[in-house]
Amino acid sequence: MDPIKTEIVVLGAGPGGYTAAFYAADKGKKVTLVEQSPRLGGICLNSGCIPSKALLHATAVLREARESAARGIELGQPNIDLDKLRTWKESILERLGQGIKGLAEKRGVQVVHGRGHFEDSHTLRVETGEGQKFLNFEKAIIAVGSKPAMPSAFDLGNRRIMTSTEALEIQDIPNDLLVVGGGYIGMELGTVYATLGSHVVVLEALPSILTGVDPDLVRPVARAAQKAFKELRVNTKVLKMATAGKQIKVTTEIDKQQREELYDRVLVSVGRAPNYSDLGLENTRVTKDDKGFIKCNPQQQTDDPDIYAIGDVNGGALLAHRASKEARIAVEAMLGEASAFENIVIPAVVYTDPEVAWCGLTETEAKQNEIDIKVAKFLWGASGRALTLDRPDGLTKLIIDPDSERILGVGIVGVGAAELIGEGVLAVEMGATARDFAETVHPHPTLSETLMEAAEVFYGTATHTLAARRES
């Protein structure tokens, strides 16, 4: 069979891959998009961001309803129809997946469903439902993403031991659920199951959940989780798991004391691993770094000059929006434009309750690198909007360069932090100063005012809080 000739092949149709394919097509290139799953959209759409946020929204309503009682509104015992919940969630994924497909068609991007394998630096073999197809390309973009890591010790082939992918299917509501790993995935999905009624225990090997996030931003999340979960155990290691009838026997160790417990289901959320196995990279000049991620330069180009890599396969922060940005950079670099992934602010959001979001420099990083900063904090207890939402458990802080007063980073914890961080990202990208925040009128009563008030705290002139006046 004659190979299909194309200018650009994009391998993987997640938020990195389809962005790259569409952008290259918009720039007039002939593009082929290869995806092994029947539905486009990648992990983000099919078993990541989107389904988890759908479930988080649905269950947040449950929690709201419960908490309403204290505010004088009682809704009675809710009835949970898991089938209907799944169908609703699935309908969102289908709608978005179809949307991407339609956009691909309109742009003339050819979609090939199947597993891709590099034969050499310019040929991709695709195993499709209708047999092998060969693609002859000028340039390729690898955007195959990552998958949940499953340590072999836990991989018993027992479906009660789940990764995030299976957990998002919500087969049932287990009575006792163990979440191994207190990172953002474990915390988010733990929240979903706890709200649905599971007794959730979260184990974290390190001294804190959400490792790497500034401690003051984690504190409200940990406090809320202690209430929502049956237990939050840090400094705990999982030694062993074994099938015990319809349950899983889990051996853990804390302070050198071993403990055995039975759980109906276990969610393993200990990280993610790049998805490049059996891609045929050995037939190209692509190389990997010491952590096993694909190595590339700031133009996203791998050591094989005609092959680029974007998103999770490169390691770093495994975030859909980073992949999308890298997609654009890779395409621009391919087309000879001056583009590079440099000094780009990538915001991070954790959809726990309350949410955590940050961007730019964090207090932790500043401390590690001995960077001189000033931190201005505004506690949400003084925000009218936070109180009307019955959620004073929030904090907005600005990381400020003391010399230029430039905003180097923003950190927010609180309900709606994910939406609020956008303003912070723009501020950091624009090189805004604390004065810019303070001088910008923010609508009242909103949570966005907390950014302005934090800046005013920096100058010692916040209206709704008394702060030590700045020496000038």
């Binding site: 000094n343 500043a366 360069d401 430039r406």
Partner: protein, 438 residues
């Protein structure tokens, strides 16, 4: 910890790796030099900002590296947990990279005709290591145009760069580019255009092309500049050093016992410092902008040193305040340091006069080129036995060929001759008492 190329000196953006002094896996101490870099100005070594083990070397010999570029990665004890922590360049000691070695004299105003703040003088610095503040759209434009935002001074709050700042910067660059040739210094900053025509030398036989090192380029530029701007006179003479050599021979062993070699250059330094005090114009500089002659009440003499990398002129301080033994000692240390490329930035600046002694290699009279902004230089050849008429009889004497090159804008012929005669008389009648070790 990742160690990047720190800011070296004003105007030095990059350099060529000439020597890597460590290897992967090797232990390294804080402040231990790990790389030698040749820049437009000179060769210098870069000290390590921390102790630890070299886990990776990211550069190769002959590679051009820019400020901020990753050089090596050091595994320090403290960063086992945080490998990616960027090295704090600001905290590291300024490396021993030399400034204009050819300009050994003080500050030189290189300003354009009316550039209030020349574009090239600004450089953004942030203790936090953050890039210059500018919106994404401005950064995009800068990237497209290949403009380094670090060079643009932002006018907005916090130093934020806006389109206006970039426009002004570019317009200034363009103005400087096209106005300089008619300006005071313009013509000499670039090689003569007539020579830029490419000649195909390979037509007549096999050739090899080698890129001029940054140091060579600087030497070349400074020499052309001096040659084309300074109305120069070369004054030749011979010095009878027969008696001086006898004195030197007499005391050489005594000096050697104290670990020093008594060299002719040490005598020259001593005598020249005295002559400069008597004829201060030879120790002066011209400030053409203000039409003033700058007299210096210090006597720092540059010594031309032949190194593997090329000519470098370190400066010996306060020559007038040192006795012959101290001069011998300091001279030896300074030249050794220069040959080993360990000479510091300060040691290459502030010279008021230069001695170029080729005598150790050979040669007779030659016409040295003045190191602007100095106004005179003494070129010294090799002493040779010659028949000379002494008191009506022919005698064999050792004559030292010398040439004083001087800037006629500052020094007149009569002054220069008097100055040279002072040096000759000084060497021919060098008092033995000054050689004696106390």
């Amino acid at each position: 910890m990742d160690v990047k190329l720190p800011r070296l000196a004003e105007g030095v953006e990059s350099g060529i790796v000439v020597n890597i002094l460590v290897s992967e896996g090797q232990k390294i101490q804080k402040d231990q030099p790990f790389i030698e870099l040749e820049t437009q100005k000179a060769v210098g070594s870069i000290p390590s900002p921390a102790s630890g083990k070299v886990s990776k070397i990211h550069v190769k010999d002959g590679m051009e590296v820019a400020v901020g570029q990753l050089l090596i990665t050091i595994a320090t004890e403290s960063d086992s947990a945080n490998v990616s922590a960027p090295a704090r360049q600001e905290a590291s000691r300024p490396p021993e990279v030399a400034p204009d070695s050819q300009i050994s004299g003080g500050t030189r105003s290189a300003k354009g005709p009316d550039a209030k703040t020349p574009a090239e003088s600004f450089r953004y610095e942030s203790k936090s290591g953050a890039p210059p503040p500018a919106s994404p759209s401005i950064r995009k434009i800068a990237r497209d145009l290949g403009i380094d935002l670090m060079r643009i001074k932002g006018s907005e709050a916090g130093g934020r760069i806006v389109l206006e700042d970039m426009r002004a910067y570019i317009q200034n660059l363009q103005r400087l580019t096209f106005e300089e040739p008619e300006g005071r210094t313009g013509a000499i900053l670039k090689p003569a255009p007539a020579q830029s025509e490419s000649i195909d030398f390979a037509k007549w036989g096999p050739i090899r092309r080698e890129r001029m090192s940054p140091l060579r380029q600087t030497v070349s530029r400074r020499m052309s500049e001096s040659w084309t701007t300074i109305p120069k006179i070369n004054q030749f003479d011979d010095i009878d050093i027969t008696d001086l050599l006898a004195v030197r021979k007499k005391y050489a062993t005594a000096y050697e016992k104290k670990g020093q070699r008594l060299t002719l250059t040490a005598f020259l330094l001593n005598i020249v410092a005295g002559a400069l005090q008597k004829y201060p114009r030879a120790n002066a500089s011209l400030d053409a902008e203000t039409s003033e002659i700058v007299y210096k009440n210090y006597f720092h003499i540059g010594i031309a040193v032949d190194t593997e990398g090329g000519l470098i002129v370190p400066v010996l301080r306060d020559v007038d305040k040192k006795n012959l033994f101290e001069l011998s000692k300091d001279l030896h240390e300074l030249t050794e340091k220069t040959r080993q490329r360990k000479v510091s930035l300060e040691e290459l600046q502030g010279g008021t006069f230069t001695i170029s002694n080729q005598g150790t290699i050979g040669g007779s009279h030659f016409t040295p080129i003045i190191y602007a902004p100095q106004v005179a230089i003494l070129g010294v050849g090799q002493g040779q036995a010659k028949p000379v008429v002494v008191e009506g009889k022919i005698a064999v004497r050792t004559l030292l060929p010398v040439c004083l090159a001087y800037d006629h804008r500052v020094l007149d012929g009569a002054d220069a001759v008097r100055f040279l005669k002072e040096i000759i008389a000084g060497l021919e009648n060098f008092p033995e008492s000054q050689v004696k070790l106390k």
